[in-house]
């Protein structure tokens, strides 16, 4: 294992120290592993919390800022943050209008955030929760609520953060996040595994000509292992699986995210996007806005995921809403 680290057990903590040192005007740390906007709490605004285990950078804390997240509780690598970390973030972003928790649907996260929410409620902070369930490979449509969350976190955050920035109340912000999640579908492919520093060895092994289709962003094995194909062939598989859910129709408008898992060059993501654009064009689905890059990674895993979010007038508004954070800034 070759990594730019010091102590395998201190990775997340040292990482956070570096992060807040790099962006002191934008963010500050609270407690041991939570980071919040420098101007938190914003009085009267719903506090938007996005969190989970680390190892997915720039998710989560890279998206702290106007139009996006107010606070990020960060767990150890690929492990949900504990309730006390979630509470540190919750208290720091609570501006009196309630707090929304957004996180990927993993049992560890569900338990830890739920415990935190119970305690926050006792302290008088009203908490609502949205669990992101965009990964079509993780369960059939009838069990949509048991699907796991992958890169869709970004779109759900974009909607919630924009709605909160527009002074939506907690019910409104929750509804925006919920609508984004309902209209979001993703699927990924891994070309390599990744190594958790404290474990020191790759989570899984892939042959020199094998790929894992439909994998999770923590290296959980995927739907099927296949022989290496061309970028176009792989993209065809991902997009056709996404379009299988009867959500997207000719004439629809979508936002597209081609997300790199960590080690895949941007050039390859563009080659994948090129094919996505062609397939959507053929399906008469119109691309309103595109995102290509590393939004939700799995350490140094090679591969990518494709996410489509179906837009109505409201979601288009939230997608277009300006945002300003260390790792995502959009001006219109």
């Amino acid at each position: 294992m070759k990594k730019l680290i010091n102590d395998t057990f201190q990775v997340t903590r040292e990482e956070l120290e570096g992060f807040v040192a790099a962006f002191p005007r934008a963010v500050r740390r609270v407690g041991i592993q939570a980071v919040v906007r420098q101007d938190a709490p914003v009085t009267g605004k719903v506090g938007v919390i996005l969190g989970g285990g680390s190892g997915h950078e720039p998710l989560f804390m890279g998206y702290l800022g106007r139009g996006l997240a107010d606070g990020c509780p960060v767990g150890n690598i690929f492990a949900s943050p504990s309730p006390s970390i979630v509470l540190d973030a919750t208290r720091a972003v609570s501006g009196g209008a309630g707090v929304l928790y957004i996180y990927g649907n993993y049992s560890g996260d569900c338990m830890n955030f739920d415990i935190a929410a119970e305690i926050a409620e006792k302290e008088g902070i009203h908490v609502e929760t949205i669990r992101v369930t965009d990964d079509v490979a993780s369960a059939p449509l009838e069990q949509k609520e048991s699907r796991r969350g992958i890169a869709g976190d970004f779109f759900v955050l974009k909607a919630a953060g924009a709605c909160a920035d527009d002074n939506g109340d907690l019910e409104h912000v929750r509804a925006a996040a919920c609508k984004a999640n309902d209209n979001c579908r993703s699927m990924g492919v891994a070309l390599s595994s990744c190594t958790i520093p404290a474990s020191g060895r790759p989570i899984f092994a892939l042959g020199a000509d094998e790929i894992e289709i439909g994998l999770g962003i923590h290296g959980e094995p995927g739907e099927s292992r296949q022989k290496l194909m061309t970028a176009d062939q792989i993209t065809d598989v991902l997009v056709s699986r996404i379009l299988e859910d009867p959500l997207f129709h000719a004439g629809d408008e979508v936002a597209v995210l081609v997300n790199g898992l960590g080690a895949t060059p941007l050039a390859e993501l563009f080659i994948v996007f090129r094919r996505v654009a062609r397939l959507l064009h053929d399906a008469r689905i119109h691309i309103h806005r595109s995102y290509v890059g590393e939004y939700s990674t799995s350490l140094e895993m090679a591969g990518c995921s494709v996410t489509l979010m179906r837009l109505d007038e409201e979601l288009r508004r939230w997608v277009d809403w300006p945002a300003n954070s260390p790792y995502f800034t959009q001006v219109n």
Binding site: G53, A79, P81, G108, A198, G200, G219
Partner: protein, 213 residues
């Protein structure tokens, strides 16, 4: 003959020794989790037990048994995170809750403790036997302990540990229905569950460390 009883100080010693055992087995637990999960189970357990050990070291001489468990559970929960943080954290904390005011801990309490831990695990994790989780080690341990009722403390703990080990091995034949690995379905067959192995490890440690008291 006076029935042997585990004091609060004994518990601190036992739990700290179990923490060392977890540390020593961390790589094996990571590997088990890596096959059908995300490969961090050993790390998370080690982080949780390091914090637990640290917290117990800070306790006063006159601490009570329930405070030991409360402290252990809270420390584990706050530090570990992940799925096991709330699960094992609740198992410990609920035990502390239930033992409030108790000053002795013998054979009878051992069975009771295992029952409370099982309830805590199910309350938090909503698992059922056969789902290929920690419960599949803990549930047979509780049954074995109950069946050994009337026997000596260490004997009960040995039977519980044996049953947990057998239960952990048996998870190799189960299809995962909860947690990360559940997405794999049939591909989980033939691979033991990491969390069940942790429970087996903890219960074996409990038996062996109590025996040396």
């Amino acid at each position: 003959m006076q029935e042997p009883t585990i004091s609060a100080q004994d518990w601190i010693r036992v739990l700290s020794r179990i923490a060392l055992r977890v540390e020593a087995e961390k790589d094996r637990l990571n590997e088990l989790d890596g096959v059908i999960g995300d490969g961090d189970h050993g790390v998370t357990m080690a982080i949780g037990f390091r914090a637990l050990d640290q917290a117990l070291m800070g306790l006063q001489e006159d601490v009570t048994i329930d405070r030991v468990f409360q402290t252990a559970g809270e420390a584990f929960l706050s530090a570990a995170g992940g799925a096991v943080g709330p699960l094992i954290g609740s198992m410990l904390a609920d035990t502390g809750e239930a033992f409030r005011g108790r000053v002795t801990f013998g054979a009878e309490e051992a069975v009771w403790m295992l029952e409370i831990m099982e309830q805590a695990l199910v309350r938090r994790g909503k698992a059922q036997p056969g789902d290929k989780t920690m419960l599949d080690a803990l549930h047979p341990a509780v049954i074995a302990a109950r069946a050994a009722e009337g026997e000596e403390l260490v004997e009960i703990l040995r039977k519980a540990a044996d049953a947990a080990s057998a239960g952990a091995r048996a998870t190799g034949g189960m299809i995962s229905r909860l947690g990360r690995s559940s997405r794999l379905g049939e591909r989980t067959l033939g691979h033991e569950d990491a969390g069940a192995n942790s429970i087996a490890l903890i219960l074996r440690g409990l038996e062996e460390e109590v025996a040396t008291l």
